[in-house]
Subunit: 358 residues, 4 copies
Amino acid sequence: MNYGQYLNLNSILNAQFPESEKKGLLAHDEMLFIITHQAYELWFKQILFELDSVVGIFQDPVLDDQKMGVAHSRLERVITIQRVLVHQIDIIETMTPMDFLEFRDLLIPASGFQSIQFKKIEIILGIKKKSRTPADQDFFRTRLQESERQTLEDLESRQSLLELLENWLERIPFLEFGEFDFWKAYQTAANKMFERDESIIRSNSDLSAEEIAFQVTALQNTRKQFQSLLNKSDANHFNQDPHFCMNQRAVLAALFIKLYRDQPILHLPYKLLTNLIEIDELWTTWRQRHAIMVQRMLGTRIGTGGSAGADYLKKTTEKNRVFSDLFHLSSYMIPRSELPELPESISRQLGFYFTPQN
Amino acid sequence: MNYGQYLNLNSILNAQFPESEKKGLLAHDEMLFIITHQAYELWFKQILFELDSVVGIFQDPVLDDQKMGVAHSRLERVITIQRVLVHQIDIIETMTPMDFLEFRDLLIPASGFQSIQFKKIEIILGIKKKSRTPADQDFFRTRLQESERQTLEDLESRQSLLELLENWLERIPFLEFGEFDFWKAYQTAANKMFERDESIIRSNSDLSAEEIAFQVTALQNTRKQFQSLLNKSDANHFNQDPHFCMNQRAVLAALFIKLYRDQPILHLPYKLLTNLIEIDELWTTWRQRHAIMVQRMLGTRIGTGGSAGADYLKKTTEKNRVFSDLFHLSSYMIPRSELPELPESISRQLGFYFTPQN
Amino acid sequence: MNYGQYLNLNSILNAQFPESEKKGLLAHDEMLFIITHQAYELWFKQILFELDSVVGIFQDPVLDDQKMGVAHSRLERVITIQRVLVHQIDIIETMTPMDFLEFRDLLIPASGFQSIQFKKIEIILGIKKKSRTPADQDFFRTRLQESERQTLEDLESRQSLLELLENWLERIPFLEFGEFDFWKAYQTAANKMFERDESIIRSNSDLSAEEIAFQVTALQNTRKQFQSLLNKSDANHFNQDPHFCMNQRAVLAALFIKLYRDQPILHLPYKLLTNLIEIDELWTTWRQRHAIMVQRMLGTRIGTGGSAGADYLKKTTEKNRVFSDLFHLSSYMIPRSELPELPESISRQLGFYFTPQN
Amino acid sequence: MNYGQYLNLNSILNAQFPESEKKGLLAHDEMLFIITHQAYELWFKQILFELDSVVGIFQDPVLDDQKMGVAHSRLERVITIQRVLVHQIDIIETMTPMDFLEFRDLLIPASGFQSIQFKKIEIILGIKKKSRTPADQDFFRTRLQESERQTLEDLESRQSLLELLENWLERIPFLEFGEFDFWKAYQTAANKMFERDESIIRSNSDLSAEEIAFQVTALQNTRKQFQSLLNKSDANHFNQDPHFCMNQRAVLAALFIKLYRDQPILHLPYKLLTNLIEIDELWTTWRQRHAIMVQRMLGTRIGTGGSAGADYLKKTTEKNRVFSDLFHLSSYMIPRSELPELPESISRQLGFYFTPQN
């Protein structure tokens, strides 16, 4: 076996069939168009391979540190690949609109938005059909072969990474602390912050009375949001907050992890939450750059698949966020130095078995 | 003179005064916050330095190739710097929300949106006060010192790069061709494309009657837009098109440059137009990533300057595009191979004095 | 035809056959290893496609501006792809040594250094078998199938981009200027620079006598190199200079292009030379980062192909530079403001046919 | 206080004094030269700030997980900054040799290699004066002011991060396991690997007898190196191995951490070792790209500080590696699946206090 056989280069390097060449005259830039999309698809395959394995890990009811370490490394890998995917847009941008028009008509009705693998990635992460944009829903209705539609629907019927995350967070055992009412202590610390903030605003001589009123109202709203999240005995208010899609217990667990990430046992959970935020952020960046690129290529024209090109992409970008709960948690932070200290007994639970001796 | 004296490192490296340290206890991450913003300001200074020189070049009524070459190199430099500015967001993202909250209150009412240099860059490129978002206009009204406001207003009263570009495009002498009615030839070529596109849509058996109707209508709208732009004798329709802010003659000149960029004399003009598109695109990317970063840091909280943080930035991103005319021109392209051939006499005018002999 | 058929995804996405899976137990990271190398090979195919077209352009005895514009865009595209290739090393670095060892033995005797496409790229650019490292020569002798060796040898027997560049530079018609002895004028300007430099060194009170002597000697050597290059009537000295592999006339033409790049007709030639420098630089960066990565993965162990891993790569990096003549030309520059002004008659030859009127 | 006052922009933005301007005529690109170097120095300050805090953490005899978590985040930040430093070279490369020559003479004898902050970074990491290249040593002797030399010497007399790392690794308590002789078990596993490797080589019909002999010898050498490292009772052989500068016990501890990084208590130590490898790798990449850039700018000319420019940098790159022991450890890995399983009693020691119940 040699290098070329091992990599199956025969298949990989003989899989480019420009439509323009079939029609008699190769449009030089169609090769770039094909190879770039193939490179995207290769990386999508790798991302799916990693996400599948992470889903498998999260399906395990006992998620020990070793498994979490593996999940963390694989999500880091997904992130590293996503950075390259963003970078690859630079390559497609070396094609000019006129060169693209040379073969664009030959692609109809195929469209760059039709990557089944990309839809799979979205579904595995947690995007639901019903929350998609109308144009995106049309895609499912009109552009897919029956078997593809079935595959995607089956996938959507399984638990997504978002749902598995919610389950795992709910199961986290560190939210009850016997005597110590952590959430009350946290509310007290937060109140101290709000009072200080309010007095800073009120004493700011640069602001007009109107602006002060505006900022104080904003602050009081934030304060109410804190109360609604932290009140564990009443989930009613929380459930009405449109910012969150996970349940209250899961969100509180995520908050606790973010606050006490320096505790050994919370270190990897914190890294995992950060990975998911990063993955979401990078898809957003990718969609945004993609939308600008399409606008640069087509202006306001309609895309080859019949959708409204750049506009379509822009709307999808705004809708298809998955882990927005985790982003939103930043609203519920307080300064590190004002964090309630955990009682020794709890802190011990979160530490290592082995304790270094002084 | 040694290295440190030459670079005035005494000033540069002793200019970091964390507020938290003044209050008695240094918040470790405040140093990063200060140095990152200072690095941004250094690069803003460099960008202003380059843009000022480019404005000077465009103010010159005779813009020969040598000057255009210089303008091109300097805009390329601006682009290279912008890429680093986008990259620098990775550095600020190593700070976590809790670490930021440690010193955030001490910054009020200063705000990261208050960079005078960045406003200058926007104004020099062509952003007008009246087109800014309300929150951005508030900034001008309430956050600036009188002298700063004056400086920015003076700057806005001068011709922006966008206006200078429009003037220069208007003056371009290659739009009249004696006998040859170029624009009619172009309209004919475009019509051929539209007819082909329409027949492709109509014969697409994958599409429902409804979809075909939708796409044909979209195509006819595009066709009308072509007519409105290409009809040089009637600017009325064109003037009502909200996609363009430059006048018809300037837009036609830009279109001609994009179409015939391979003609020697149009090569650098084409590069310049591309540079401006790229600069616009990179500021958009920078604002978008900046907005995500702020959302990740603050959630939905209000910013230190009293503005609505992430939301504010998102709106600004959508408004503050400068060279959207040039992006929009992509809607008016036809395939390269269908471009009308220029008559020998015109082509000669666009070539070099020296002609290689076969 | 849909998206998946157009891209032949059936071939692309079913071309991954991990050896470890065949042996019964998939080593998770082998998938990454395969897909990363396949992505590299896709991009190598694209780079070959672009380089082939550029070679075609340079084979044309009359290289007009339009063709040069096309060559320039395609080389820029190669550069953009190379940047992504460097970036992709980050992805392979998410694999750890222990994970690699899990399937490494199964790859023997295949080796990552066996990419035929990469050898083709090197040959097309201008690397000759005889100048390769011994280990690299071994590869040609022992690792290739007969047909592959034949393909590479045929390729090497054609003119490389380096040779075509030399021919083109030799043919450039702007080196004779009638009455005006440009090269003498340039030598005079350079001498002025050398005299100034020498007096700066001699009057530097920070330097010891020994250091002054060292620097003055270095300066005089540079001066001699100038004389050897600029003396058009005597190529003997020049031919002994190991820094150059192109002939004197070609090197002088390249120097003239670099010096007078602001002249319209030299603008694109200058861009082309810069592209070639950048391509060389990026392969060097890629090889260097590759060598560090291999060292990080394998330490000092021998590679799967039997070559000495990291060490092998390091040596190859130093040898396989192609356009070193163009790098070296930087030694022959003088400050821009001291450049001899070209006589009006010559300057006219280098300009456009159309002349803007004041 | 407003944004500009907080950031001390008055100092930062009025610290650019081009020498060419003082001499009467601003060389446009000198501004870029100054600002780029100032941006580098700002980031060097930030890196020093982070490294100082990490040194402080490592000086603490009890390094608990919380402190290690902080050290890890700060080293990640250093890495993120280093990536931007590498990227910044793109900016300086927008300057051409002729534009640089315009003001180069005015800088003599200042030199870009004279950054005191960069020397400090090297010293804090662990570079010793005696291991520097002769040219680099000259710098210390001739280019520094007395007070600067004193500062650097004082810094070198303190424990570097490399030395602190060695001490910390030596103190790691997990290398004695009562009954269980881990190192013997590891040697046995490694021997199995070597035997398999040898039989693969011997049965490879593609290889000539000569090549087989070469590869078998290489393998046996590696095997001897393993024995020399793993034999804890005899440090003699180990001490003669030029690949390592740390002592045997420290190296073994680092190896153990790399092998069992999935054990909770070893997770952060593993991350720290990886961070140090990455920091070293990124400085190497930065020096390499820096050297290519200088060569592109100056060719083989001597630098403004009197040193031999590109050549000087190339040599320094090869010498100034700090954590080469950690790179070299990759030679001592075995496949993950063949790793000896730790006895339950040891494994418990390396886990969390809290144990999830099935």
